[in-house]
């Protein structure tokens, strides 16, 4: 599995280079790669369904317990198969859809990286590795949502998605670390038998809350749901892939994966039920007023994600069965419908439902595909969506206390989903034809083949569910519930109450559809107060953060060099003052104190030069005087036998004077700008710094100066470093990594200088 992921990352990195020469066939070429992954994992199907769990471990940071441990069981295989199958379709589809876009090569890089990360995420058993893949999917999602980065809305939506899911990711990391603290291991599987210990732990509530914040933000659960509809700014293949079929299910996957470690308590189950129901209803109700095909689908996706959370919250055997079927069914039909929406957009130039109609003759194949997927989404027999919805209702019916309310909520939400299906899957094709921005025609092969296959697969799964997914059901349930299910999937359960509910849902959906025209204007006028909208909370938080940043920048980075220097010096002194006083008065050995004639002369010259710097009335004079101070320092180094330091000081001083002279030309005529008060303040600070430095030096020299390092470097410079110049050997060998860090900083600083000066040059040119 590690090798497959490695192949994935390498292939993604190679995609931009392969795109140019094979532009016309790239859809096929790129689709072969997820297909290869799909087939490799499908070949394990029999093994996994037979009860085997495949583990594989690659050392990463063994000393920290962080390894790339992969675990292939029923649950992860289900997700991997969904990811790679939809991936194949989307890669092929994008070959035609993205054709002509200026950055298609980049698109394949991002989406390839995403797919590989997503596969890694669902395979990982190690929490830290899982977190890394989790964040990778957030980052690639950011790049893909902001793919049309010339649009402000795209950039905004991308940032929003990144901040929400990234922030949730941090909460998740904290939760996982707490969890790992209990078992002293990062392997999720090591916690499987520790369920009792975990739920007794004092930090259990904290773990649950943090992990669920992470999962909910990723899976766009209420109140984090707002980023998902905005993410529809992404190109349609991305919406189909990331934002309906795969990435948004990562949170759901994590909840399922951790269910039998953290589950079974009222806190866990009830939170899931409440949040799931809220999301299910919010998504469905908000869908009512939408006019954009993709937005309609996005809100219905929200609703489905809520339903999946709700099912995990119910947590009964039947609910887990419903979870599994609904998950697979939704990925198939929603992926298809998103791609159909993309096709409509691509071939007609609009995604507005009101403008689309009567396209059945122009796009017959797309129409058939859409119809098949829509039947599945509406829950019509004999498609897999029908089984999904039936089991959802059946599992809710089992509940005692919450049952009636949840049932009503589910029927209303599903009714609204039926309405969405009518709008997306049927309205554009039937009724009277309307003029569209582009003359409509059938999509190319690459764009209808994949969706059609997915839709047909949905039909086949409905017809013979046991043969196609039954084997995985037990294994997945085992991963979620840790008990054998022994349940079979059946298409037909006979005439019962559940079937009646399905009919009611359909009728309700038709009713909503019929009423929509009448109530739409009124519904669109409804404005929620900002307090009731989580997206407004996000805006307020973001704006608050920005103004805080602006405020502190205005205070700390005011653009005056003199204030920078004052701030730095005063802060340093304030921080060092406490330990300095705590250390008491330094024991100065006056007896050892001696000064030679040379040193006295140097000091005198330095003092005179400093005085000249302060009092001079010409910049050139001041600069030369500063240079004299520097050179005197260099001579001092020579006297104390540090030729390397002296050499460097001389070179630096020379260059500094040259630089100063260059700047000098630019400056206005020298006048005295600062008032007396300022000069007194500066003099005080300068004196304080001088006293402070003197105290520091006295303290340092009062201590024991004989360190082991000195003798070690002196003794080992030649045998180990092969050099007699200890200073240089330290720089390039013993402590070379420090030097490497320093020269990197220098290079970055040079880029900064370059940018600053370049900016000014450019401005002048304009």
């Amino acid at each position: 599995m590690f090798n497959l992921l490695l192949v994935g990352f390498i292939a993604s990195a190679a995609a931009p280079f392969l795109y140019k020469p094979f532009r016309n066939y790239f859809g096929w070429i790129s689709a072969s790669f997820p297909l290869y992954l799909f087939i490799s994992f499908l070949s394990r199907y029999r093994e996994i369904a037979g009860g085997r769990v495949i583990r594989e471990s690659v050392s990463w940071f063994p000393s920290l317990g962080i390894n790339l441990t992969f675990l292939l069981d029923g649950l992860s295989l289900t997700f991997v198969l969904i990811i790679t199958l939809i991936g194949t379709v989307v890669f092929l589809y994008a070959g035609a859809y993205m054709k002509g876009h200026a950055h298609t090569d980049r698109f394949y890089l991002y989406i390839g990286l995403f797919m590989t990360s997503m596969v890694g995420l669902v395979l990982c058993d190690n929490m830290i590795a899982l977190f890394v893949f989790w964040e990778l999917t957030s980052v690639t999602s950011y790049l893909l949502i902001g793919f049309n980065h010339h649009l402000e809305t795209s950039r905004k939506a991308a940032l929003q998605a990144l901040l929400v899911t990234g922030g949730g990711g941090l909460a998740l990391l904290a939760g996982l670390l707490l969890l790992a603290g209990i078992s002293q291991s990062f392997e999720i599987s090591s916690l499987y038998h520790l369920h009792a210990v975990v739920i007794q732990s004092p930090v259990y509530a904290g773990i649950v809350i943090l992990v669920l914040i992470g999962a909910f933000s990723k899976s766009a659960q209420f109140p984090f749901h707002f980023w998902l509809p905005n993410a529809m700014e992404a190109p349609t293949p991305v919406s189909a892939y990331l934002h309906s079929a795969t990435m948004v299910k990562a949170g759901i996957y994590l909840i399922a994966r951790l269910n039998h470690i953290l589950g079974g308590t009222a806190l866990w189950q009830d939170t899931l039920v409440v949040i799931g129901t809220l999301t299910m209803l919010t998504g469905a109700i908000l869908a009512f007023t939408q006019m954009d095909l993709k937005k309609l689908l996005a809100y219905s996706t929200l609703s489905v994600l809520g339903t999946l959370t709700l099912l995990l919250g119910i947590g009964s055997r039947l609910a887990i069965k419903a979870f599994f079927i609904y998950l697979v069914a939704h990925s198939l039909y929603k992926g298809t419908l998103f791609l159909v929406a993309g096709t409509l957009d691509h071939e007609t130039g609009t995604r507005d439902v009101a403008l689309l109609g009567g396209l059945k003759r122009k796009l017959p194949l797309t129409m058939l595909t859409a119809a098949l997927a829509s039947f599945s989404m509406m829950g019509i027999i004999p498609l897999v969506g029908f089984i999904g919805k039936e089991t959802v209702y059946a599992s809710i019916l089992e509940l005692q206390t919450w049952g009636p309310f949840l049932l009503a909520a589910a029927v209303v939400a599903n009714g609204l989903i039926v309405m969405v299906t009518m709008l997306v899957g049927f309205k554009p094709f039937w009724g009277s034809a309307q003029a569209t921005p582009k003359p409509p025609h059938e999509a190319p092969l690459k764009m209808w083949l994949g969706p059609a296959l997915l839709a047909i697969l949905g039909l086949l799964m409905g017809l013979c569910p046991n043969a196609l997914i039954g084997g995985l059901l037990d294994r997945s349930a085992l991963s979620i519930l840790s008990e054998e299910m022994g349940l079979v999937i059946k298409l037909w359960h006979g005439f019962n109450f559940v079937l009646l509910l399905s009919l009611v849902t359909l009728l309700l959906g038709f009713l909503f559809y019929a009423l929509r025209g009448k109530y739409l204007p009124a519904a669109q006028k409804v404005q929620l107060s900002p307090i009731a909208k989580p997206s407004a909370w996000y805006e307020a938080g973001l704006n608050g953060m920005l103004s805080l940043a602006g405020l502190q920048t205005r205070i700390l980075q005011n653009g005056y060099l003199r204030y920078y220097i004052i701030t730095i010096l005063v802060t340093t002194m304030a921080l060092a003052l406490y330990p300095l006083f705590g250390a008491g008065t330094p024991a100065v050995h006056w007896a050892d104190f001696s000064i030679t004639l040379y040193e006295a002369a140097i000091l005198l010259v330095m003092a005179i030069s400093t005085f000249m710097v302060i009092t001079s009335d010409s910049r050139l004079k001041a600069i030369v005087a500063i240079g004299v101070v520097g050179f005197m320092m260099g001579i001092n180094f020579i006297i104390h036998s540090a030729p390397d330091l002296a050499l460097t000081t001389f070179a630096i001083e020379t260059l500094t004077v040259i630089l100063f002279v260059l700047v000098l030309y630019k400056l206005p005529k020298f006048i005295r700008l600062s008032g007396t008060a300022n000069r007194v303040r500066d003099a005080l600070i300068a004196t304080a710094v001088g006293v402070f430095m003197t105290l520091m030096v006295l303290h340092v020299t009062a201590g024991d100066l004989a360190s082991e390092l000195k003798t070690y470097f002196a003794a080992n410079s030649l045998p180990l470093g092969k050099g007699r110049n200890v200073v240089n050997v330290i720089l390039v060998d013993f402590r070379a990594i420090d030097t490497l860090g320093e020269i990197t900083v220098l290079a970055v600083a040079a880029i900064g200088v370059f940018a600053l000066l370049k900016l000014r040059l450019d401005r002048k040119e304009k």
Binding site: D644, L662, K722, L731, V732, A736, L740, I743, R760
Partner: protein, 138 residues
């Protein structure tokens, strides 16, 4: 301000100073010197040439973009860390070739690393001087 004496002198001083800077780089391991100070001296050599002949001439003489010299320096320093990794030693352990070369002396990864420092320092100093000088011209 153009001085024919300085201009003529700089033509002869530049190669001498550059040779001196290489000398500093190579002797650095055993005697005072090293990549940092060598780079500074080389930069000073170009600075002298620029003062005498103007920034355009100096740029023409340098040929490469200073920012590329910086990048090359950083790259050389990084590459010098690779042989130790490939040999299975700890990151950045110094590896030396056995034979002594004439003029250059001992050759090993620390020398390569120092050469990277040399290039980087040269590039940065020259970059800043040239940038300020160009700014000045406008």
């Amino acid at each position: 301000m153009f001085s024919i004496i300085l201009s003529t002198a700089s033509k002869y001083l530049l190669p001498l100073l550059l040779i001196f800077s290489f000398f500093l780089l190579l002797r650095g391991h055993n005697e005072p010197g090293g990549g940092f100070v060598g780079g500074l001296v080389a930069a000073a050599a170009y600075a002298l040439y620029f003062i005498a002949n103007g920034v355009e001439e100096a740029k023409k003489l340098l040929k490469a973009e200073p920012i590329k010299i910086i990048a090359a320096g950083l790259l050389v320093a990084l590459v010098s860390t690779l042989p130790a990794l490939l040999a299975g030693r700890d990151f950045m352990s110094g590896l030396w070739l056995e034979p002594q070369f004439p003029v250059i002396g001992k050759v090993g990864t620390p020398l390569l690393f120092d050469a990277g420092v040399f290039l980087l320092v040269l590039g940065i100093a020259v970059k800043i001087i040239f940038s300020l000088a160009e700014e000045d011209k406008r």
